[in-house]
């Protein structure tokens, strides 16, 4: 049994990372070329890590499923990246960024990790600027900042609405420099399907070449997974279509604990689904809630009317009614839950999907009246254009429609302070790990975490692991390597040749997605979770009996790719529900309906649930391990948005 020791250093919070770095072992520059490191995924965490390890002189092998490392889904992040530079002299500090982040996560994350994140935030901006990331600037030439996600200080750095793109292209360019130098070798259109573990240590991976179907093993001294989150378990999400859990799930099935799988974030301002063929949802910046008023018709019979024909007294500005103090600016989870509640009551608007109208109005008419459409255009022009191109409706004339969508997963592989999973030599960085966001993530901190892990944390801790270990040479004919390759091949064989092939991968993906959305979304309860667990166990059986994959497995076969990913989402979905059932409290992004205050507010239970739930794989009966969260430096408080 692994000991869930987080390896957090002791002493004053401010000095912990510094002290820890000093205690870590180093590898001399001339010796680094003797070590091989595998990095999977080329998003912010992966690309920045490849670049940094390559610059340091290690041999890095990088893999991604996209056709180029530049296409990882970090590219779609819009808002910005936080850093406690305090350029605006508004009282920001490392301590305040740390406190906001841990409070935002509803006190379900480690103090030491988050403090380190806040400390490193400033270096990220320096690094990105030196790479040529074109952040917004003032006329003076200084960097500009904005306030984001309800914080009281302006600490967010941004590049219009494309901050993720620009940061990723910065990391990609640095990684490209190292590919040219020969320190990093990269393979695109490759999917990791197995971890190779020898003598208890991660020593390699098995990948499938997505074009030729060839299965190959790749060996190294350690493996780092930078493979992103699992929002696509819900089928419809704001993630790219290819985002998947397969890499993290393989690691989990091989012994890596999966932490807080039910901690997922649902974003309130997305373009609603319009029909059964909908393949993904698009996020619109939360800044829209600064000026838009959210409402739904008071009367169900008005729901299919033109919104402009609905009289003022027949409109329910429900967030303003329910939360008079914060109104339309309540946090994401509260807004999302309220929106879904209105639609579940039957007061939704827009297209009917599965017998329900999924949407509420986000209305800009009063701000347009107040400041004029030109001013509104200056502020939100690109968002309005984007909305119009997706829906064909002009938001200057007709209120926008919005509906929540899964957006980010705080849960992920359990890692210690060194970002190492419970498997020796297997690290996880960025959204793939669980470490920094607790039960909810603040705006503009996903980019910060991915880059902190990749540029600054993992390069140090991976080196320490390599320096302390001994690594016997392994060849591709090692029995463990052969058996890992065989298990991948067998699985593909089973996917291609189900006993009674009937349904496409998307059919099963929609099924699991809809169960998770209903039972393990923003609001959960015991009965529905228990039912969901039963249904998912049945779906898993049906999947392996009835999955239908056409074409050939020795070929470019997107149906086969999807089938493999859906199989993993089904198993992960089961664990998400098990975790949600275990957590008998409401906290962060989710509400357990049995554990809400009378006011409807979330009721955290620190005494009984102040822990990270780290699950060990055991088919349908996962084993729970706990990492208790101690708060030595701050006192957990409760939110109140009434």
């Amino acid at each position: 049994m692994h000991n869930l020791d987080s390896n957090v250093p002791t002493g004053p919070l401010e000095n912990r990372w510094e002290k820890h770095k000093f205690d870590l072992s180093l590898i001399a520059p001339q010796n680094r070329k003797k070590y091989n490191i595998i990095v999977i995924g080329t998003g912010l965490a992966g690309a920045s890590l490849c670049a940094t390890l390559g610059e340091a002189g290690y041999n890095v092998q990088s893999f991604c499923y996209n056709d180029s490392p530049r296409r990882a889904h970090s590219i779609a992040a819009q808002g910005g990246v936080n850093a406690s530079k305090n350029y605006q002299n508004d009282g920001d500090s490392t301590w305040r960024l740390f406190y906001d982040t841990i409070k935002g996560g509803d006190f379900r994350a480690r103090e030491s990790n988050i403090y380190r994140l806040a400390q490193l935030s400033c270096n990220i901006i320096d690094q990105a600027v030196s790479q040529g990331v074109p952040f917004a600037r003032e006329y003076s030439g200084y960097l500009a900042n904005r306030s984001f996600g309800g914080t009281q200080v302006s600490r967010t750095f941004y590049a219009r609405g494309q901050t993720g793109q620009q940061l990723l292209l910065g990391a990609y360019s640095s990684m490209s420099k190292e590919i040219a130098s020969g320190k990093v070798s990269h393979k695109s259109r490759c999917e990791m399907l197995e971890v190779i573990i020898i003598d208890g240590k991660a020593r390699g991976i098995v990948v499938r070449d997505l074009i030729t179907g060839e299965i190959s093993s790749h060996l190294a001294d350690c493996v780092v997974m930078c493979t992103g989150g699992y929002s696509n378990a819900y089928y419809l999400s704001t993630n790219a279509k290819g985002c998947n859990t397969s890499a993290t799930w393989r690691a989990h099935k091989n012994g890596a604990y999966f932490a807080n799988p039910s901690f997922t974030q649902i974003h309130p301002t997305c373009v609603p689904p319009t029909g059964d063929s909908q393949s993904k949802l698009t996020l619109m910046s939360e800044s829209l809630r600064n000026d838009g008023r959210i409402w739904a018709p008071k009367n169900i019979e008005d729901c299919d009317k033109n919104p402009n024909d609905i009289q003022e007294e027949d409109r329910d500005y429900f967030l303003e009614r329910m939360y008079p103090a914060f109104a339309n600016l309540v946090p994401r989870d509260i807004a999302s839950r309220a929106l879904k509640g209105i639609c579940d009551e039957g007061r939704g608007v827009g297209s009917v999907v599965n017998n329900q109208r999924l949407g509420v109005y986000l209305d800009f008419s009063s701000v347009i009246q107040k400041i004029g459409s030109e001013k509104v255009k200056e502020k939100y022009g690109n968002l309005f254009d984007m909305y119009e191109s997706i829906t064909g409706e002009n938001p200057y004339e007709v209120p926008m429609k919005i509906y929540p969508a899964p957006h980010y997963t705080m849960g992920g592989l359990w890692v210690d302070y060194n970002l190492m999973t419970t498997i020796d030599g297997l690290f996880a960085c960025g959204e793939a790990n669980f470490s920094d966001h607790g039960a909810n993530r603040l705006g503009a901190s996903a980019l910060m975490q991915g880059l902190a892990d990749g540029y600054f944390v993992a390069p140090q801790t991976v080196a320490n692991y390599l320096a302390k270990g001994t690594f016997e040479e392994i060849t591709h004919d090692h029995p463990e390597v052969i058996s890992s390759v065989e298990s991948v091949k067998n699985r593909i064989e089973r996917l291609m040749n189900a006993p009674d092939p009937k349904h496409s991968p998307d059919y099963f993906h929609r099924k699991i997605g809809s169960i998770l959305w209903t039972s393990c979304g923003m609001a959960r309860d015991k009965d529905s979770l228990k039912k969901a667990i039963k249904s998912i166990e049945q779906i898993k059986i049906d999947f392996w009996n009835n999955i239908k994959v056409t074409g050939n497995d020795k070929d470019f076969n997107q149906t086969l790719e999807k089938a493999g990913r859906v199989a993993d989402f089904i198993e992960l979905g089961h664990l998400m529900c098990v975790d949600a059932l275990d957590r008998e409290e409401s906290c962060g992004a989710h509400a357990r309906l049995e554990y809400l205050a009378e006011s409807g507010d979330a009721m955290r239970d620190d005494e009984n649930f102040g822990y990270v739930a780290a699950w060990e794989f055991n088919d349908n009966k996962p084993t729970l391990h706990k990492e208790n969260l101690d708060f030595e430096f701050i006192k957990p408080t409760y939110r109140d948005y009434k």
Binding site: S68, R70, A76, G132, I179, T274
Partner: protein, 240 residues
């Protein structure tokens, strides 16, 4: 809505391809173009046939993966839009659609509608970066950047590397892609130092990859989903 689709099918890089005709029916007008193809693929699975391979990922116009030529237009006729942001209501008056991959020697077809664009990655590897290393960066505000320069750099930096500029160019030139990257860095003080060397290397690599030269057709600017201006190419030529 019902459509007749003539789709380019090609088993792999080596084999010859041809158009194959399919029919899709009962498509909702709010369905995106790629969701329409998803539905075709669901029909093909139902019939036990191999699905049409096409590239996509984010489906929100930013990753640069999607790449179809629709009725002769890379990313379709709609301006400033990637294929994934097209909706079937845009095709109400065109019931017959010819769907092809990008066509350029440097972008070999891997299967059906998907092409290999690693030539772009190699161009970036040849010099599309600032030679800075992690840890050596000075305090971010220690070097001021004129706002106009920062904005211009941004306008060039938004290239998504989709390759539509190459697909539409009669010479299959990658000039717009290369120039956008060169100009992005050249506009910034931290990138200016290496700009001549960078431009030489990247242009050299572009030629080695088999892309043609620019002969001022300016089609690239017209199809660019991010509306990157050909003035980038003029700026690039000035550096050399």
């Amino acid at each position: 809505m019902n459509f007749t689709l003539h789709i380019w099918r090609q088993k792999n890089t080596e084999s010859n391809g041809q158009f194959v005709t399919y029919h899709v029916n009962d498509i909702d007008s709010d369905t995106s173009f790629l969701e329409m193809l998803d539905q075709l693929n669901e029909d093909l699975i139902e019939k036990g046939e191999d699905c049409v391979v096409f590239d996509y990922d984010c489906r929100e116009g930013i990753c640069g993966t999607c790449s179809l030529v629709i009725n002769g237009h890379p990313h379709g006729e709609k301006k400033a839009t990637t294929t994934c942001q097209l909706y079937m209501r845009d095709y109400a008056d065109q019931s017959e659609l010819w769907i092809e991959p990008w066509r350029a020697k440097s972008f070999p077809i891997v299967k059906d509608l998907a092409v290999k664009r690693e030539a772009f990655d190699r161009i970036i590897q040849s010099g599309g970066f600032i030679s800075t290393s992690v840890g050596s960066a000075p305090e971010a505000n220690s070097q001021l950047v004129n706002k106009d320069d920062a904005d211009c750099a941004f306008d060039s930096a938004i290239c998504i590397g989709c390759g539509a500029c190459v697909a539409v160019c009669p010479n299959a030139s990658a000039s717009l892609f290369v120039a956008a990257k060169i100009n992005h860095f050249q506009r910034l003080p931290q990138g200016k130092i290496e700009s001549t060397k960078r431009a030489e290397r990247m242009i050299n690599q572009m030629e080695q990859e088999g892309f043609g030269s620019c002969s001022n057709h300016r089609h690239c600017e017209t199809v660019c989903p991010k509306e990157i201006s050909v003035s980038n190419i003029a700026a690039m030529n000035k550096i050399l």
